[in-house]
Amino acid sequence: MKKRYALYAAAAVIALSLSSVPDLVFADAGHSKASKTGSPGKASDVSRTINVTMSDNFYEPESIAVKEGETVRFVVKNAGEFVHEFNIATAEMHKAHAPEMMMMVEHGVLEADRINREAAKKMQASMGHGLHDAPNSVLLEPGKTGEVIWTFPKKTELEFACNVPGHYESGMVGKIKLSH
């Protein structure tokens, strides 16, 4: 009897400590699956679709309003001439994601107007990570369209932003307004 309670207690402690560990521990900062920022949504739960157009270097619309807990499908089109990202995360996560994107530029993966898949493979081989799909973001070449389905959390200050070096600082970021 005592042993089982100890086991439950241990499990609870572990669960509690794991849930309070910052998102950074799980995968890459910008690609977190933790519940703080929401979670990847299921297509069947989608309540509405929002079209997002990416240009050089800004989004249309400039801000997005969603309900807490809502699952939204974002259809993202890159109408610009440069590669852009649509990434849902907190401001801190975007900041942490920037050096990773910079590394992709330095390794020749992320060129101004295209994604170099060859270089991405090399980077994956030598560094263990390169291009990878993340549920909370899409990285699109000019003219391409992508999709993000996301279930929003409660009460978190979220932004959608592009972390291609220099784009966030140029203002390619928008607020996600969460309402009850």
């Binding site: 050089d56 270097n57 800004f58 101004a112 070096p165 220099g166 600082e169 140029s170 203002g171």
Partner: protein, 621 residues
């Protein structure tokens, strides 16, 4: 005579009174050219200003409109106004002797031209030395289309190097004694300090090497003794820009100095460069950048903290600085950092003419006492036999075991590493006679791991580094956001050797002063590749009027588009120009006393719009 005080803190600049925004796409402005009193806090003097002030007003134009500018000359001498960086008909360019005869005293001249671009530019007198005397202002052109960056407020940050002496007096003094204004020369006390550090032999060798050439390694700023100003204010007068924490602020930096390059940083804030010389660049975030004379850089900063930030400009020669403040409320003064150490030119900066290395007596190198080269690990330099350096033939350098030179970054050995020369045609260097290369400056090889920049000679003493660590902007980082022209092969190349006689303070191009030179004739529709070879030890900001200079910085179709291109000592820089502006244009070094000393040319563009040419892609914002 008008006696007017300078701008108040917090005001960007006197906004120009728009006389009439008449029919859609037209606006009229008026400027008067006046004698004004200048008070920098360090000195007072009489200078020249626009509408009673220096700096002059911020002119705001709209892309697509036709502007009319009436300029009234209230001076007792001729004047002119040149719109720096603007594409317009040559008769409106404002250069006496090339565009028109200038504006006589009492006369009002009316400029009329369409605005075909957007961004940050400036204007200044092109007569005598009126610009150093205060005749400059700024231009903001609002784009038709949305810009690829967002900001909540903006400020013009215009720099100058105000001097107590008038421009013509400075020119006269420089002509009689080239080092008249250089108070950072190496002294006997420096010699003693250096001898203690590097050894007597090495220090003597070093001094003799420079003395042989009659040149000074501390000759970076020809004119010292100036008080740098930001928007007309010195550090003590503290120009202040207000912001709300969390806002994105656009700072339009313009270097309107006569002679001074500034290194700009805002301690605590990163800057994202979004525009260079009025043209959008792919955004690049840096901690510090160097702005050459006549250049402009637009940056976005996001100041999140409720405190005062220092906008700090330090002269390249580290002789003077100015601090402006970005603050959430009036009355705050940001801390001003100290000046850094005065840099020293190296042998790499000595104008090495790759076709002709005459004058460098390599025979003197045998006398160098290698035993005394402090900082370099002597024991490993045994194999260095300089007598075998004939030709650039690497196989002959076998005796020189570079891999063993502890503490010295061999890629930086003065004058030896040419692989870093931006755009340099390596195949032409075969004929280099190394047997004539004198004085390799070994004293600078000890432990100096300065980051290489392709736009400085390898081993240069001028390579900048960010004071607080981080990234320093390089020309190589500039990439056009939207190229203005198709990327195509140049139709011909024109070599312009930047030359001069420092001792006599004579400056020239290809050894010929402006008054003795033939104009450069270009054909409308061609694409000219200019090869600037800097054979002097000074940095020259070369400015071509009326047409864009596409800087070849290795970015192919993303090569940035500029109006002013800085050429560092001992380097070769390439630019390309689509010749699409008929008429005649000025082309010169924008250092006022170099242009005045002869480093100037008239460019004549023959032919007109009927000729076949590469069609420029539509100019968008």
């Amino acid at each position: 005579m008008l006696r007017l005080s300078l701008l108040n803190a917090g005001v960007v600049g006197l906004s120009l009174l728009v006389l009439s925004s008449g029919a859609a796409g037209a606006a009229e402005y008026s400027l008067s050219v006046d004698r004004v009193k200048i008070d920098t806090g360090d000195f007072t003097r009489t200078g020249i200003g626009y509408n009673g002030n220096t700096p002059g007003p911020v002119l705001r134009f709209k892309e697509g409109e036709d502007v009319t500018i009436n300029v009234t000359n209230n001076l007792d001498e001729s004047t002119s106004i040149h719109w720096h960086g603007l594409i317009l008909p040559y008769q409106q360019d404002g250069v006496p002797g090339i565009s028109y005869d200038g504006i006589d005293p009492g006369e009002t001249f009316t400029y009329r031209f369409p605005i075909v671009q957007s961004g940050t530019y400036w204007f200044h007198s092109h007569t005598g030395f009126q610009e150093p005397d205060g005749a400059y202002g700024s231009i903001i052109i609002e784009p038709k289309k949305r810009e690829p960056f967002r900001y909540d407020r903006e400020y013009v940050v215009q720099l100058t190097d105000a001097h107590p002496h008038s421009g013509s007096r400075i020119m006269r003094n420089l002509k009689r004694s080239a080092d008249y204004y250089n108070r950072k020369q190496e002294t006997i006390l420096d010699f003693i300090a250096e001898a203690k550090e590097k050894g007597l032999g090495a220090t003597i060798d070093d001094r003799m090497m420079w003395g042989d050439m009659r040149m000074m390694p501390r000759d970076i700023e020809d004119v010292q003794g100036f008080t740098p100003l930001i928007n007309g204010k010195s550090s003590s007068q503290n120009w202040t820009g207000i912001f709300k924490p969390g806002e994105r602020v656009r700072l339009r930096f313009i270097n309107s100095s006569a002679m001074t390059y500034f290194d700009i940083r805002i301690p605590g804030l990163k800057m994202t460069v979004v525009q260079a010389d009025g043209n959008n660049v792919q955004p690049i975030t840096v901690d510090e950048f160097r702005i050459g004379v006549a250049e402009t850089y637009d940056v976005i900063v996001k100041a999140d903290e409720d405190k005062a930030y220092a906008v700090f400009a330090e002269s390249m020669g580290r002789t003077a600085s100015v601090r402006a403040t970005l603050a959430p409320t009036e009355g705050m003064v940001a801390e001003e950092p100290d000046l850094r150490e005065v840099p020293r030119l190296t042998m790499a900066d000595m104008g090495m003419d790759h076709g002709n290395m005459a004058g460098m007596d390599h025979g003197k190198m045998s006398g160098m006492d290698h035993g005394n080269m402090a900082g370099a690990d002597q024991s490993k330099m045994a194999g260095m036999d300089h007598s075998n350096m004939a030709g650039a033939d690497q196989s002959k350098m076998a005796g020189m075991d570079h891999s063993n030179m502890a503490g010295a970054d061999q890629s930086k050995m003065a004058g030896m590493d040419h692989s870093n020369m931006a755009g340099a045609d390596q195949s032409k260097m075969a004929g280099m006679d190394h047997s004539k290369m004198a004085g390799m400056d070994h004293s600078n090889m000890a432990g100096e791991a300065k980051k290489d920049d392709a736009f400085y000679a390898s081993g240069s003493g001028l390579v900048p580094s960010a004071a607080d660590g981080g990234k320093f902007l390089s020309y190589s980082d500039l990439k056009a956001q939207k190229p203005l022209y198709e990327d195509r092969e140049a139709t011909r190349e024109i070599e312009l050797r930047l030359t001069g006689n420092m001792e006599r303070y004579i400056w020239s191009i290809n050894g010929v002063k402006y008054e003795d030179a033939d104009p450069i004739v270009l054909q409308y529709g061609e694409r000219v590749r200019f090869k600037f070879v800097n054979e002097t030890m000074m940095t020259h900001p070369m400015h071509l009027h009326g047409m864009w200079s596409i800087l070849d910085n290795g970015n192919g179709k993303w090569d940035p588009i500029k109006h002013t291109v800085s050429v560092a000592p001992g380097t070769t820089v390439y630019t390309e120009t689509e010749v699409d502006a008929p008429g005649q244009w000025a082309f010169h070094c924008h250092l006022s006393y170099h242009a005045g000393g002869g480093m100037f040319r008239k460019v004549i563009v023959e032919g007109g719009p009927k000729s076949t040419s590469a069609k420029p892609s539509s100019v968008e914002g």
